[in-house]
Point group: none
DNA sequence: AATGAATGAGGGTTCATTCAT
DNA sequence: TATGAATGAACCCTCATTCAT
C-alpha cells in the first residue's frame, strides 16, 4: 500500500493527506512536522522540498476549497436577491462542504491557530460575504442570528453530530433542512411591504 | 494600580485574568507562560507557585463555570420533561453563559487544544447531557440537528456576531430567541400523543 | 504518630530523618527540598529555618559519624602497630558502621554528588588514614589491594547483600570475618623472610 | 583537530566521549547537556539529533559493555562448575573491565542516578548472575561475602586505588590476584564431596 | 527527489534560595 | 517557629527551519 515504488511522484499529495489527518486529529500546533514526516517515513527535510513552510501546507489544503466558494459567491451575486436564490446558495454551499468535512473540522477546532495563518482572514471575508448574501440589509438582530446560525450549523454540524447515529448523507440533508428553515425564517415575506422607511411595495 | 504592594495577595487572580485574556486572544498553545508572566511583571516561576502546570491554570478558569452548569442539569432532570422546562433550561443556560463569554470563546476556538486537556472530556459530557435533555428520545434527525444547533448557537453566538453591531445584551436575547424557536420546532406538539409509554392523549 | 503536638521541638531531627531516608533512597540530586518538606508537611522555608543550605543538611547527617571515626583513628595511632591492633581496628570500625548503614549507603551510591560536598574530601582523608593504619608502609600492591578491599567490603557490604537472605547482624559478622582475613593476609607475620608459596628464603 | 570539517561524521562518537568524561568526572545529574554541547562547540539541539534523550546517551555508552559480559555469562554456564572455571571467569571478567574503567567509575559513583536509568536494573541482573556462577548454591554467608567482595573489588578497585602509586596494569593484576584468592577461599575443596548438607564430618 | 546534520529560539518545568511577616 | 510569595538560573527537550550534498 505504501511501497517505495508506489510513493513515486505523489509525495506531495501524501504529505497533504497525512497533514490534514493529523492537523484535524490533534490540532495544528500540536502536530509537528517531525510527526508528519515519521508517519510518511521520510525526513523532515523532504517536507521542505515540497512546501516552503508549515503554513504553506495548510494553505495548500485550502486551495481546493476556496475557489468553489468564490465561484459560488460570484454566482449568487449575479442572481436576483430572492429567497429562492438564498435557498439555492446554501444548498450549493452544503454540497461544497461535503468533500471538505475534515478541513472544516480542522478549521473549526483550530480557529485560534488558523486566525493568524493568512488563510484565516481570507476565510473570514468569505463568511461575511456569504452572511451578507443571506440576510437582508437592514434585518433585525434575530434574523441576523438566524443567518449566522444557518452558516455555522453547516460548518460545525457534521462533526458536532458524530455521537448521533445515522448515515452521514442523511445527516447532511437534515442539517441543510434546518439551515434552510432558518434562512426562510430570517426572510419574512411580509416584511418588506410593511416597512415604512422605504415604501418598497413589492406587491405582485 | 499595579505597585508591588497593591499586587500582594491577588496574584493568583491576576494570573487567571491575564491567562484567560491571552488564551482567548492568541490561543492556548500559542500563549506561553513567559508571555503571561511578562505581562504581569513577575517571573515564570511565580506562576508555578500558584499553579502546578499550565493546564492547571485552564482548569482553574473553568472551575467557576462547571458547577452552575451541573446545577442546571440537576434542576432540569428534576422537572417534568415539557417544552416549558426546555425553554427555561436554555434560558437559564444563556444566563450562565453571559458572564462566561471569554471562556467560551476560548473553548470554541481552541477545541483541538482543549480536547486532551481533561477539561475537554468533562465538558463534552455536559453538552451531551444537555442535548439529551432538549431532544425527545426518539426524535428525528432534523430535530436532533435543531437541538444541537440551539446549543451551539448559544456558545458560538456572541463572538460570531462581533462584526454585527448592536448592544451585547440585545444580541444575547436575539440568540436566545432563535435558540428557543429551534427547541420549539424540535418538539412538535403532535408527536407526543403517539408515544406509547404514557397515553398522553392530547386531543387535537 | 506525627500530630502537630508531637512534632513540637523536634523538627530538626525529623528533617534529618526524612532527608537521610530520601537521599539514600533516591539519591542526593534527585531529592528536592520540596519533596522533603512535603513529606514532613511543612514548607520549604521551614527547612531553611533549621538548615542554611541543602548541603548543610548532609553535613549535619555526617556529624554523628565523623567523630567516632576520628576517635577510632586516634586510638589506633596510640596502639602498637600489630596485627591484633589492626583486627581490633576493623572490628571497632564495623561496629561504628552498624548504626550508620543508611548513611554509608547514601555515600556509596552518591559518591559523585558527595565528592564536591565538602564532606567528601574530609571523608576521603579518613579513608586514606585508615588505609595507612592497616597496611604496612612498604607492602606489596596485592597487600594494599587486600586492605582497600577490606575497608570497601565493610562499606558496601551491607546493601550489596540485600538480595542475600540472612539476619543483618549475621551478615555484618560474616563481612567482618572476611575483612579480618583480608587484613591478616595483608600482614603476613613472617612476611618477607618466609613467604611460603615460593621458598623465597631471602635470608639476610 | 577540531575544525568543523574534521568533525563531520563522528559527532555521535564525540558526544559519547565527552559525555562519559563529564559524567564520570562530575556525576550524571550534575552534568547538563548544555555543558556537553558547549565542550563540543555544538548546540544542545545537535545532541538531540544524535540521541533521543539524556538517558539514551548513557545507554549507548553501555552498549559496548553489556554484550561482552553476556557472552561471558553464556560461556560460564556451558562450563563445568569447577573452581578452575570460576577462576577463568573472573580472569576474563577482569579483562573485560580493563577497557571499561571510566564506565565503571561512572556507574559506581552514580549508583543512585543509574538505578532508575533502565540500564541499572539490567546491570544488577548480570551481577546477580555472575554472583550465582561464583558461589556454590548453599554456601555459607561468609563465602557469599567472599564472592561478592571479589566482584566488587574488581569494579571499584581501579579507581579506589588512584592514590596508590603503581602501573595500572600491575594494579589490575594485583586486584585479580586478590579476587582469585577470595573465590578460592569461597569454594573450599572438601566441601562438595561431603555435602549431604549435614553430617559434614570433615575428617582431620 | 530527498537526506544528514545542525541551529536558534523557545517551550514547560523544577530547583535551591530569600525575605518580609 | 514557621509561612507565603517570589526569584533567577538552570533544566531537559522540541520546534520549524536551513543547507550542503
Amino acid at each position: 500500500m505504501s511501497t517505495p515504488q508506489a510513493r513515486r511522484g505523489n509525495t506531495r499529495q501524501r504529505i497533504q493527506d497525512v497533514a490534514l489527518e493529523l492537523f484535524s486529529e490533534q490540532g495544528y500546533e500540536k502536530t509537528s512536522l517531525r510527526e508528519i514526516a515519521e508517519k510518511l517515513e521520510v525526513t523532515k527535510a523532504a517536507l521542505y522540498y515540497h512546501f516552503k513552510t508549515k503554513e504553506d501546507i495548510v494553505i495548500s489544503l485550502f486551495q481546493g476549497l476556496t475557489s468553489p466558494i468564490d465561484e459560488l459567491i460570484v454566482w449568487a451575486q449575479e442572481q436576483p436577491r430572492t429567497l429562492e436564490t438564498k435557498h439555492e446558495l446554501i444548498r450549493r454551499y452544503s454540497e461544497s462542504l461535503r468533500s471538505a468535512e475534515p478541513l472544516f473540522r480542522f478549521m473549526q477546532e483550530n480557529q485560534a491557530a488558523v486566525r493568524d495563518l493568512s488563510i484565516g482572514e481570507r476565510f473570514k471575508e468569505r463568511m461575511l460575504t456569504l452572511f451578507g448574501l443571506l440576510k437582508e440589509p437592514d434585518s433585525e438582530l434575530s434574523d441576523q442570528v438566524r443567518c449566522i446560525t444557518a452558516l455555522f450549523s453547516m460548518h460545525a454540524g457534521m462533526f458536532a453530530m458524530q455521537n448521533v447515529e445515522g448515515d452521514p448523507e442523511e445527516k447532511r440533508k437534515a442539517i441543510l433542512e434546518v439551515a434552510t428553515e432558518l434562512v426562510t425564517a430570517a426572510n419574512p415575506p411580509n416584511r418588506r411591504p410593511v416597512r415604512p422607511d422605504s415604501a418598497q411595495t413589492e406587491a405582485p
